[in-house]
Amino acid sequence: MRKTFYTIFLSFVMVLLYLPILVLAVYSFTDSANIGAIRGFSVQNYVTLFKKPELRDMIAGTLILAVGSAFISTVLGTLGAVGVFYSGRFGNLVVGSLNKVPVVNAEVVTAFSLCILLIGACGVDKSSFVSLVIGHVVLEAPFVYVSVVPKLKQMDNSLYEAALDLGASPAMALRRVVLPQIFPGVVSGFALAVTLSLDDYFITSYTKPATFDTISTYVVNATRGSQTEIKTALWALSTIIFAVVVGMVILMNLTGNKNEKRAGAGNEKDR
């Protein structure tokens, strides 16, 4: 009885969460410009999405920016976390506390203050993409740092010492012994960085060149305009992103389950 009630409640919220996305997904395959009467099946929106240069560039730009800035953030954040782990209280205090600022700060404030510094005080040219990339790294690197630190704490420290005793140079020991142990944290940090970059609006809109758009800024501008063709093409985009996310989650679950099984059945005590 209780379980039935629980199921109904969960399903109800789930429907509320996904209804808008699913309705748009259905309408993205029609030639209607508004939610209402469905006239006929059409893939015109998807054709527009990939044929129209401005839309294609916007999507490509978003992806390149996300992967590129995530890569820089991952390198910086991981090096930072490893360095701080081995350094004294001072490094920990400075990097650790500064790292928290972008995590808790409101995105608008981060974006505004960075923009004032770069464009106002240092005279950086927005059209050079420098401010945009720095902005995204400021947003992402702290989260990479946060996801690497716990892995460093779990790491078996004696392995590093053992590698040195066996004649490895410190750099080699770091690469061959430390890095593999913290690698899951590095990967999830990278994934997190990509999603943060893809989802960001504020940092992008304050630091981007005038001619460049990411999905977020493009969508916000498009809602102000009234071009039907673009509006419905964005429905197609949202459907594709939804499908990609679902695919990723399924993939993650499949690989995750396998890992759990391999990790052994000894973890049943949680039940």
């Binding site: 409640f9 954040g77 081995y86 990097v95 608008v108 404030v109 106002g120 410190p170 809602t223 949202s238």
Partner: protein, 268 residues
């Protein structure tokens, strides 16, 4: 050996410099701008004008209203979801949790667009209920960020405590009120941190849902577009102050594991 330690710790220098240049320096710059005027003279005028103008005070009140309402809505929806997922015996808990958290990874402007289309069909004209629409939009946007930390805290709750409560004669309701709920407070606080501040500042949600009232974030945006960096910096500083008070309070009570859980699922 000493030389080695020194070398390894040097790895944090690039990131340390990066943080000083692009996290610390911007803070210094906005503090400078907030307390100076157009000619570079030190002044408190930006501060006093914020607190003496009915417009800006009204904006502060409106954003607090939106933030409180959004946080309450998220909490009322998220707590039961997290509780059911964590404490009952559904078969594929991890998968169901994923389903609730997944919207987090879809670009929020696209999700709000979708919501806008649906609300337009239901309401006809979005202009009639600006506050309600904003509340729905914000809740829709931030719900996963509330579910995740509460779930994390409830999930690791020690079962023996609940059994002890039952053995000592507490019924289900009493056990919940006296044991489960108090122990989940750290997760709730982490969730509130994740939702409250963004809903004070995320003015894009309001823009997209045709709510033309300003919140604190829109003030920064407006001052920025008008090149009024002094007043803009003051708003940013006031928001920073609110954030500081918030984190000081939450550092004491929030759940370490559940905090900063933007990608909690990814991190596991």
């Amino acid at each position: 050996m000493n030389r080695l330690r020194f070398q390894r710790s040097q790895l944090c220098i690039p990131y340390g410099l990066f943080l000083v240049c692009f996290v610390f320096a911007p803070l210094v710059v906005i503090i400078y701008y907030a307390f100076t005027d157009g000619e570079g003279r030190i002044t408190l005028a930006n501060l006093t004008s914020f607190f003496s103008s009915p417009n800006t005070i009204g904006t502060l009140a409106y954003s607090l209203g939106i933030a409180v309402a959004t946080t309450c809505c998220c909490l009322l929806l998220a707590y039961p979801i997290a509780y059911i997922l964590a404490r009952s015996r559904f078969k594929h808990k991890a998968v169901i949790l994923m389903v609730f958290v997944m919207p987090m990874w879809i670009n929020f402007t696209l999700r709000i667009t979708a919501l806008k289309e649906i609300l337009t069909v239901i309401e006809g004209n979005l202009a009639y209920h600006p506050f309600l629409n904003t509340l729905i939009g914000m809740t829709y946007d931030f719900l996963p960020f509330m579910i995740l930390p509460i779930y994390t805290t409830l999930e690791k709750l020690d079962n023996s405590l609940l059994e002890a409560a039952a053995d000592l004669g507490a019924d289900t309701v009493r056990t919940f009120l006296r044991v489960t709920f108090p122990l989940s407070v750290p997760g709730i606080i982490s969730g509130i941190v994740m939702v409250f501040l963004p809903s004070m500042t995320n003015y894009v949600v309001l823009d997209m849902l045709y709510n033309s009232t300003y919140i604190m974030g829109s003030l920064i945006g407006a001052y920025f577009s008008a090149y009024d960096w002094h007043n803009g910096s003051m708003i940013a500083l006031i928001l920073l102050g609110i954030i500081l008070v918030f984190t000081m309070f939450t550092n004491r009570y929030a759940d370490e594991d559940a905090g900063s859980s933007r990608g909690g699922v990814l991190g596991s």
